[in-house]
């Protein structure tokens, strides 16, 4: 397949870098400023070197990406809330041109799911978005295999930064502020960690899951979200007295979405440590399935994008 990649952050760059391994060609790569476009395949290594060196990606305008001949638009621009722009318009343009779209950007799928599905219904192209939930962990494809109707709930840990902070607080008896600073030094938490610690990032993923289970109907404002900022070290100590710990757990069902700090058994499946993520898929006929792994990171998330590309039908 010929890939046009929008967004040259960790995920977009990794998709470009790994595409050849999966037998795909990259015909365009764009960030918000410029693009490099070549119908016979761009020189990926050179483009990535320019990007890392803070030079312009290429000499083309990002708009030119849509004019070139591609099979799949990879939407890997930063997640935005509300109208989910410009990501939503990118997807719309590709679908209206009868192209496939694979999203790593959570915004359009969480905030405007029904509109995306309506556009897809009128297009020869399809949308897929495995990379929006749980990075490298096959969550949506597992639900697709079980069929969404047979899945009653999805629960789990889908934010590595919050999980890292809670794990360190419990292990070292340290307070939130201290561990957050450490996480920022280690590069586990961003300079502005708000969306990770206030539950927004996890909530977007569980909104997407609820949309898949219920075939739409949810956006971020439907989720009940609480963060971990108000959890002191002493709360984790008390939880440990009874063999429990606290994790930022999300739940998605057809009834709604809830994300917040919850008590879970210290040695239970959901109490993953460090930046690891886990999902528990509760099925009607087959009990619970658990998958855990790396929920973020460029190459990890890129594998989810490229697996999606591989699942697309020929155009």
């Amino acid at each position: 397949m010929k890939l046009a990649i929008l967004g040259a952050g960790d995920v977009g760059r990794s998709v470009a870098d790994l595409a050849a391994e999966y037998d795909h060609d990259v015909v365009a790569l764009a960030d918000s400023m410029s693009a490099t476009v070549d119908p016979s395949g761009i020189a990926v290594a050179d483009a990535l070197e320019r990007k890392v060196g803070d030079e312009a990606l290429g000499t083309s305008d990002p708009e030119d990406v849509f004019e070139t001949e591609y099979d799949v638009l990879v939407e890997a621009t930063p997640t935005t809330l509300g109208d989910a722009e410009p990501g939503f318009s990118h997807v719309k343009r590709a679908l209206e041109a009868d192209r496939h779209v694979v999203l790593a950007n959570k915004g359009p799928v969480a905030e405007r799911y029904e509109e995306l599905r309506a556009l897809e219904a009128d297009s020869a192209g399809s949308i897929r978005f495995e990379a929006t939930v749980g990075g490298a962990i096959p969550v949506l494809s597992t639900i697709e295999d079980c069929t969404p109707q047979a899945v009653t709930a999805v629960r789990g840990v889908l934010n590595g930064t919050a999980n890292f902070i809670l794990t360190r607080m419990a292990a070292e008896g340290l307070d939130y502020e201290h561990v957050l600073a450490e996480a920022q030094d280690l590069g586990v938490a961003e300079a502005d960690p708000t969306f990770d610690v206030d539950g927004t990032d996890a909530a977007l993923k569980f909104v997407i899951l609820a949309n898949v289970l219920g075939d739409g109907g949810f956006s971020l404002e439907d989720a009940t979200v609480e963060g971990i900022q108000s959890i002191p070290g002493s709360a984790l100590d008390l939880a440990a007295e009874d063999g429990r710990t606290i994790r930022l757990i999300g739940e998605a069902t057809r009834e709604g979405i809830r994300v917040g700090p919850r008590l879970v058994p210290e040695n239970g499946a959901l109490a993953v440590t460090g930046t690891r993520n886990i999902v528990q898929i509760e099925t009607r006929n087959a009990g619970s399935l658990h998958s855990s792994g790396r929920g973020a990171g460029g190459p990890e998330t890129a594998t989810a994008v490229l697996s999606d590309v591989g699942r697309l039908p020929p155009l």
């Binding site: 709930a153 629960r155 609480e226 108000s230 959890i231 002191p232 070290g233 002493s234 709360a235 100590d237 008390l238 939880a239 007295e241 009874d242 429990r244 606290i246 757990i249 739940e251 917040g260 700090p261 919850r262 008590l263 879970v264 058994p265 239970g268 499946a269 959901l270 528990q280 509760e282 009990g287 619970s288």
Partner: protein, 190 residues
């Protein structure tokens, strides 16, 4: 360990019961706060062939009705347990839970916030009242002193099948008092 007496009532395995053997039971009583009341309440247990294992007398924890909850672990032959409970009731003791039949579910919640300033004892009474739960025990951690943010873990007994409602009630008490309520994750094999 060979000499382990047969009356080592096995709480973990309710089916572990031998001919003429003993089993452990938990009985929850509510006593009036008067001298001699505890002793009076315990007499019917021995009178009916029960053997006291432990008594957890939560003096500091008054129920909404102004009584003192007492948890009694005892052992007796399974066929005598009904007599023990009848004996207690016959003596006018308020038995609120006997054996496993009423206990249903036990859940932990952790509360975080200005627990002391928002009247912890009132918070617990409201939980018992509004969530229809019994506070079995409580641990408090106040590393910043009683004026600061503190945490408390409460172990609650809730009737079977009522956990979701009880937790929703506790959530709304938390909202009223500006406390963070860390609930257990129900459902699924977490």
């Amino acid at each position: 360990m060979m000499a382990n007496p047969p009356e080592g009532g096995d709480e973990d395995d309710p089916d572990a019961e031998t001919d003429g053997g003993l089993r452990a039971y938990t009985v929850r009583l509510e006593l009036v706060d008067e001298p001699g009341e505890l002793l009076r309440a315990l007499a019917p247990i021995a009178d009916n062939g029960g053997n006291l294992l432990s008594i957890h007398h939560e003096r500091g924890n008054i129920t909404p009705r102004g009584h003192i909850p007492v948890e009694v672990d005892l052992e007796c032959p399974p066929d005598r347990f009904d007599d023990v409970v009848e004996g207690l009731r016959g003596a006018g003791v308020n038995v609120i839970q006997a054996g496993a039949e009423h206990y249903g579910e036990e859940v932990n919640v952790v509360l975080v916030g200005h627990l002391v300033e928002t009247d912890l004892s009132n918070t617990l009474s409201r939980i018992e009242d509004e969530a229809d739960a019994v506070v079995l025990d409580l641990s408090l951690a106040a590393p910043e002193g009683t004026d600061g943010i503190s945490s408390a873990r409460a172990r609650l007994a809730i009737d079977s099948g009522r956990s979701s409602e009880a937790l929703a009630a506790i959530r709304s008490i938390g909202t009223d008092k500006d406390l963070t309520v860390v609930e257990p994750l129900l459902g699924g094999d977490a």
